[in-house]
């Protein structure tokens, strides 16, 4: 029997999900996270999950781990003491950054630009110069490099970045300098920019390399320690770390390019949602992942998660392939308050996990979205949060009462108002990824997960006219599920900058093949068997002089005479859809890319029995508030629901780690994978 294990480290819980590959069944285990050393929680989770399943860690084939180690150390500013070796005259590249400020007219007033990740006094330069054409203007002086490195090491630098001007065209100087560093200071970790981003944009390339170096020592320590602890426990399979783009890579690659796991956790949700989208034949889905402090939304089209080529973490916008997620400060813990003039606002301030919403009974007194759900019994009396926490309904009422008093309205009306405003904020986020990018949400379904997502899913689907609304069987652990469905992958890119019509197909074909062989070498090093390797090719195009780049998928076999017309058509169609117009301007291929994958198929078990009666799984009835009045509402137990069953709204469905709401005039069907599929009653 083969087992695959996904483990996702969250703020409060570490989720473990084990797939029994032949049966396609899943086993869930949740343990408390251990923020001071994540690996403790991970090991404990693996141990308990194995116990629950009755297997030994030695029987696991693969562990796929989403880690927030890099995220946290960047956001908390706790990375390595970095040194930077760059081109003479470019010492201040990290200060120059971009001219971006948060909003015009007043944005500069409140903005405090953080100090660069590497201070100026730990920056040294070399007089070597690479021209924009890739020809060396001045060669690398080894003695100069050595003395600069000696100075940096004497300054206490424990991780080095080498980022030279134009190294994306010709990385030779960067590689020479790396070799010198490695021979002179064998224990000093080195990141060179051309290894991480071989594209133009000097600031972003340097910043990405610097952040990579910032994370390197701690990440190496973390993954080495985790791997050896797992091995001690008997595990001898493959340990992979989840990347920001939803793929995975080996421990060895992670230690080389830790910046690519900066958004490891959230990517899993979108990959998991995209997988389910394919399974249930709803390839176009809006995804909404609502947690305690924020909600992540994304748009999946054609059953694939949306990918972008940059990433943002705090102030830093760097170049790293990542799942295209839009985040908004609205979650279960978001606090409702009245402004000085009496406007009701919800979030972005959050009660977090501690003290948490008032209903947690841990001393929180400010009203949150979760409290409003408790007041209206959308989270029904007697339900437990995260399977263990008793709800303090009186505390929730007292908190929401402060809003009711401020507005001079009933308690229930105040609670509904809080939910309405929170839903509007998430609705706006969904518009950003759909309407604003030229998609009509009516062509999409909506899949909701995260601890709070299923409570709000029906309302959001109604607001944005997405149909149907899908609630997966394990909404609280969809990220871990996504890890199980992820492929080993990495991207190889090159700045191209050629006008389409002036570029012969042979040249483009040859360049793409070059990238494919780079990808192939990497997959070989990752230990991926040849028969599961796959490659995707992209030409990122734009109108000449534009700054955006629109990815266009290429079939290598179709890059032959006449490809230019097809590419123009593809680009212009996408440009029109996104922006509503096209221009009579030449099209330029800015970047060419190859994504190399080691595919890891996943098949879930499916229950095709049909025709359970709709009364199955009713645990009790409660009064639940919808549309201004209380309704006698059945409370279902999710684990008791059967495939084929249809639940008429209003209904509340409770399960281990979340609660789902079906509104009046909507009904939920249970499908063969135990998804709840919510649609307007009487609608096809």
């Amino acid at each position: 029997m083969a087992y695959r294990l996904g483990v996702d480290v969250g703020g409060t819980f570490t989720d473990v999900l084990v797939l029994e590959e032949e049966k396609g069944t899943l086993t869930l285990e949740k343990v408390l996270s251990t923020p001071e050393d994540q690996s403790v929680g991970v090991l404990e989770g693996v141990r308990q999950a194995c116990q629950r399943l009755g297997v030994e860690p030695s029987e696991l084939d693969a562990i796929l781990h989403g880690s927030t180690v890099v995220t946290n150390l960047i956001l908390e500013g706790k990375g390595a003491t970095g040194g930077l070796l760059t081109t003479q005259g470019h010492e201040q590249i990290l200060h120059l950054a971009r001219a971006w400020t948060p909003g015009p007219l007043y944005g500069w007033m409140g903005m405090i630009k953080p100090s660069p990740v590497v201070e100026l006094w730990r920056t040294r330069t070399v007089s070597a110069r690479m021209g924009a054409d890739g020809q060396a203007v001045e060669g690398l002086d080894e003695a100069e490099v050595r003395s600069a490195l000696d100075e940096l090491v004497a300054e206490g630098v424990d991780s080095l970045t080498i980022a030279f001007l134009n190294s994306y065209v010709n990385p030779e100087h960067e590689r020479q300098a790396r070799d010198i560093a490695q021979s002179a200071h064998p224990n000093l970790p080195v990141s060179i920019s051309s290894d991480l981003v071989s594209e133009y944009r000097e600031y972003e390339r340097t910043l990405t390399a610097v952040l990579n170096a910032y994370a390197k020592p701690q990440v190496a320590k973390y993954v080495d320690h985790l791997e050896s602890s797992l091995n001690d426990a008997g595990f001898s399979g493959r340990l992979d770390i989840v990347r920001s783009d939803g793929g995975t890579m080996s421990v060895a690659s992670t230690k080389e390019r830790p910046i690519d796991i900066a958004l490891s956790g959230p990517s899993g949700g979108a990959v998991g949602a995209a997988y389910l989208a394919r399974e249930i034949d709803l390839p176009d889905l809006l995804t909404i992942d609502m947690g305690g402090t924020s909600t992540d939304v994304a748009l999946c089209q054609g059953g694939t998660p949306p990918i972008k080529r940059d990433a943002q973490l705090g102030y830093y916008q760097f170049q790293s392939r990542s799942v295209d997620i839009h985040s908004v400060g609205a979650g279960g813990g978001s606090i409702a308050y009245l402004t000085g003039v009496g406007s009701l606002r919800v979030g972005p301030r959050s009660a977090g996990a501690d003290p948490g919403p008032a209903c947690y009974g841990r001393g929180g007194t400010e009203p949150t979205v979760t409290d409003a759900n408790v007041v209206l019994h959308r989270i029904p009396p007697g339900a437990k949060l995260a399977d263990t926490l008793e709800i303090d309904e009186e505390a929730a009422k007292a908190a929401v009462q402060t809003i009711a008093d401020g507005l001079g309205i009933e308690l229930t009306a105040a609670a509904e108002a809080i939910l309405t405003i929170a839903n509007e904020n998430m609705h706006a986020a969904l518009r950003v990824v759909s309407v604003e990018r030229g998609y009509d949400p009516r062509d999409f379904g909506l899949i909701a997960f995260g601890g709070a997502g299923p409570l709000h899913a029906n309302a959001l689907g109604r607001l944005i006219h997405a149909d149907p609304v899908v609630i997966p069987p394990t909404p609280g652990v969809l990220s871990a599920f996504g890890f199980l469905a992820s492929d080993v992958q990495n991207e190889f890119a090159r700045t191209y900058l050629r006008i389409v019509e002036e570029t012969p197909a042979e040249h483009l074909h040859e360049q793409l093949e070059g990238l494919a062989s780079e990808a192939d070498e990497w997959l070989e090093r990752e230990g991926i068997a040849k028969d599961i390797r796959a490659y995707e090719f992209f030409a990122d195009c734009r109108y000449h002089m534009q700054d955006i780049q629109i990815p266009c998928l290429l079939e290598l076999s179709e890059v032959q005479n006449g490809y230019a017309g097809r590419l123009r058509e593809q680009f212009e169609g996408e440009h029109r859809r996104r922006y509503g117009f096209d221009l009579d301007v030449p099209i330029e291929i800015a970047t060419i890319r190859c994504v190399g994958k080691g595919e890891r198929p996943l098949t879930l078990s499916r229950d095709d029995s049909n025709g359970s009666s709709s009364g199955d799984g009713i645990d009790r009835h409660e009064q639940v508030f919808f549309d201004g009045e209380w309704h006698e509402t059945p409370i279902y137990e999710r684990s008791a629901l059967r495939a084929g069953q249809v639940i008429e709204g209003p209904a509340v469905i409770v399960q281990q780690d979340t609660t789902a709401v079906v509104e009046p005039n909507y009904s939920a069907a249970v499908d063969g994978y135990s998804n709840l599929i919510i649609s307007e009653t009487g609608r096809d």
Binding site: A99, L105, Y106, L344, L407, E424
Partner: protein
Amino acid sequence: MATQVESAQVPDFVREHDIDHVTLDIIENTLSNARFEMDRVVETTAISPVIREQSDQFPLIADRHGRMVIGQFGAAINTILKNSPYEPSDLRDGDVIAMNDPYLCEGSISHCPDLLILRPIFYEDDLVGYSSQWGNLMDVGGTSAGSMPISAKSIYYEGIRMPPIKLYDAGRLNEEALRLFCHNTRTPKMVEADIKAIAAGTAAGAARVRELCARFGKETYLEACDAMLDRTRSGVIDLIRAHLPDGERFEFIDHADDDGLGNGPIKLQMALWRDGDTMNVDWTGTSPEVPGSVNFFLTPEMFKMFMGVFLIMAFSPDLVFNDGYYDVVNVTFPENYGAENLAGKAAKFAVTVNEVRIPKETALDEHGQMVKGRADKPNQHDILTGSRPDGTGFPGAPFPDMTCGNWTRGGKEGSAMLGHHDRSGPVDNAWATSWNSSHVSTGCDAESLRSTGGDARFYCFAAK
């Protein structure tokens, strides 16, 4: 003689509002999201890096009377229409008015590269408001590339000016006019794309307003606009009362060196005081217009906009920024300011309201934040110099040492000379207010330096 712009009567929207509180909050939230959507549409589609990277584009949504209910700049909608051949009753669904002349929109845009788009919004054939947005184009012709000539002596140096025209008439693009305008710029393709991008931004705002009308009803939407103006007005009154002590008069004077053409110094003088709920600003004493390109065409309405946006964003950023408070701010300009003069003037950036901050902004730290000066705590205006007023070193023995022994001493003995970055000194003499030579420290150890000049951020030593 100064022209006093009398504060208007209490505006009509100050009253009880017939709207459900939660509906009002939803409309307010939605309009606020719509304003950011307008930003994103323009910033992703524009070609000009001034728009894309520096966000030099500003959106607004106004009510049917032309009052901004949410947004970012002064809505001189009625002035724009007055300067056009169109009455509001001539406007139709799909019309888009474009213009780039600062003098025809009360300075809503401050120079010709800013292209302003104004789109009336109709719901069920009734005018329910306007969306408007402007962005800084790459070039509009004139004597220098980028159309910001520092040698300009009149607005004609800046390039082509478009008076308010219908760029789209009931949805049909006036291609001839667009071609004429673009042909007069150095970057015609970019300008064409950017104008279309700005028009697309206003279309996004208009769509959201129509959705709100459909969702809540037109009357409710219009009532919400009034209520939002009223809310902001009372919020600003609270801010004025909280932050300006009644009766106390704050005055400020500073000078810009010159206008780049040898005329100067140019004096800026402003007084600020509160009178009940009203904030008064008087610019009397400020120098008249100068020939060079440092004039800033500022109307009372525009200055109210600046006062309000900074007040709100600094002290109460969750208050919606709109035109509601204009009657509680009085602005007085000297008569010779030239605000009414529609003849060719070089309307330019340099003397902007930002200059009010000059006495502190003489020194910025590594984050671009102001280094504290004399009026602040702690006072960090000292600069360790050891220099004479002209910036050269003291002659040395037998004269007293002013450099703590060439910066080697660390005890109570000796002293060092200090200057002041905020140019305020112990006495009003030129030397005492200089950067170089204001007073000496009482010793050379950390404690003495801290009490007489060591609690500072700068040093600047004489080279000779």
